[in-house]
Symmetry: C2
Subunit: 354 residues, 2 copies
């Protein structure tokens, strides 16, 4: 029986379309000969769309995307400083709107240093952790404002909103993730000594949920200290759970540790299945190198692999990752084009059922 | 004519007293034979004091410290998880209270990789920047609270408060700092695409002040991207100015880049001179190694050097730094005790006026 998966594709801006093109090619190659068919609908959203039409994220398109099974997302954002984008906020109006409205509360960002990847920062084997970043609240809530803007008496506030509801669901997801891993270790990261209110709520909930998972070893780390451990001793991390902003910062750093942001994949997961989950490389739209076939599509390809796992196609996801691993291990010093990397990953794919 | 400088010394907890002892020894050696005399008053504050007396920071002691010319601060904080400290908050009640009440709005944290210091992360010469961290507002304001604590409906908020007044003074200080440096470059770091209110205020003020400093090259970076550049290309930074929380995170990472947090010094500066400025190592109290003479006092010693500069004793500050540099360049692989490092720095001191 053929299974049809409805896939929304949002290539976005800059290098987004180039890397998503390769992710789609790899997806097709992985699924070839199987009983799954992707039914893709492409949505032209992002800074480019805004510049052309003035629209950021029309409701009708959001409704159409809500009806899909998953979302493959490239990157959004125009050229920094473009005056025409000064009053647009594509990040808040599109990317964060998708994460918030579709309840992508578990932003999952694995960090592995694959054999063959050269990093001055760590050895392969020392780096194998996953960050579960809260995706729907915290300092990203968008609450706040400006009083007396433009004057000497201006005051701007940003309100981090943290709910027991929101924290518990992501903490629980992180414990479940830790259960599936060999080391069964969970580190929660916050800044409890300064952000005492949110810190207390996080602490209470982590402790409460931890009682249900006696097999998981739990520790705590301040976010500032976590950056030091990440560069000096990444092997101490297995699963990290943290708030939206700390997760944003730590996962870019983790990208650098894991051999570069060109390899960092992510899933914006709605574990309850009430809306489609979304898979995107951690990197941005990099307009400076866009359209030149200079971008590494590996992060986008690995994000497609996370999507396969999420859709229950774990052995296909594994075949995709094996191909990426084989390609990384045999990469020389020569730079290859975006398309050539896609070709190489496809060439490394093991036949189905092999 | 003898100049008497009134110095408040707060050794604090854990390794604080050990490292401050060496900083004081080096200070005495540096100033010996000159016309400056330190009139020290020691204040026993921190977790230990709290455990013994229940007091965090009595008003009378705050008033006494306010009357000094400068503060030398070790580190505060008890053993993590100590139940007796559960309802104490020494960080907020003492350290942050000092920074806030004494208007330490420029938290200055230089990051230099000294020759001889081995870092897998960078080469000496590539790392020479200073972070000017806002010290009196932002997410550290302490505004916020918990609604329905302990229930499923709990909501905790943390309000980041950002004023034109507070931002302008630290931004101006950072531009003045950039003026004194060779590269004359200022990078401001924020997360303007998500924290749009505070981001807009920061942006407006940076742009306004920048117009007064045409000789300074200004650029902007998101905080997440800044962590990547810090580990992959630290040479691109000269002066960084950023908010209180981003500065906290970035300067721990910078400590790792600069050869380890045992070398990272800081000044909590009140540039207006209305209250004494405070000088402290970036590291914490590290209770696990306390009392064993295992801590590196270099960060405390370099902090004392920043204090000398601030007090106008720049040539003494330079002699102190030269001695530290000479010691670092000749450090072998052998570990030395806290006291032995103090001895070695003193032995490297050039005679006054040499
Ligand atoms: C583009 C931006 C809004 C986004 C974030 O801050 O979450 C990005 O940095 C990320 O990590 O996915
Ligand atoms: C101890 C803590 C309150 C402090 C801070 O967050 O500022 C420390 O991390 C620092 O960087 O000086």
């Amino acid at each position: 029986m053929t299974r049809i998966i409805k896939l929304a594709v949002i290539p976005g801006d800059g290098i987004g379309p180039e890397v998503i093109e390769q992710a789609n090619r790899v997806l097709d190659a992985v699924l070839e000969g199987g009983d799954v068919v992707l039914d893709r609908t492409e949505f032209a959203l992002g800074a480019q769309r805004f510049l052309e039409t003035g629209e950021t994220f029309p409701e009708s398109e959001q409704a159409a995307i809500a009806g899909q099974d998953a979302i493959l997302f490239g990157a959004v954002g125009g050229v920094p400083g473009d005056p025409r984008l000064q009053h647009a906020n594509i990040e808040r109006g599109l990317l964060l709107k998708l994460r918030f409205d579709f309840e992508h509360y578990a932003n999952v960002r694995p960090c592995t240093l694959f054999p063959g990847v050269v990093s001055s920062l760590a050895e392969p084997g020392d780096v194998d952790f996953v960050v579960v970043r809260e995706g729907t609240e915290g300092p990203y809530a968008g609450n706040g404002g400006r009083l007396r803007p433009g004057t000497h008496a201006e005051v701007a506030t940003e309100v981090s909103v943290n709910t027991a509801f929101g924290i518990e669901r992501v903490v629980r997801y992180a414990f479940e993730t830790a259960l599936t891993r060999q080391r069964k270790k969970l580190t929660w990261v916050h800044k409890t000594n300064v952000l005492v209110h949110a810190g207390a709520t996080w602490q209470r909930i982590v402790q409460t949920v931890a009682a249900e998972y006696p097999e998981i070893a739990v520790d705590y780390m301040h976010v500032d200290a976590a950056t030091i451990f990440m560069v000096q001793d990444p092997s101490r991390f297995d699963v990290i759970v943290t708030d939206n902003l700390f997760g944003d910062i730590l996962t870019d750093l983790a990208g650098a540790i894991g051999g570069g942001i060109g390899l960092a994949a992510s899933g914006n997961i709605n574990p309850d299945g009430t809306f489609p989950s979304m898979f995107e490389p951690v990197h941005g739209s990099a307009p400076d190198i866009a359209g030149k076939q200079l971008a590494d599509p590996t992060a986008a390809i690995l994000s497609a692999g996370l999507m396969l796992d999420h859709l229950g196609l774990v052995s296909d996801g594994e075949r995709l990752r094996s191909a990426v691993r084989a390609d990384l291990a045999s990469r020389g010093a020569a730079t290859r084009s975006t398309g050539a990397i896609g070709d190489a990953v496809i060439a490394q794919l093991m036949p189905r059922g092999a």
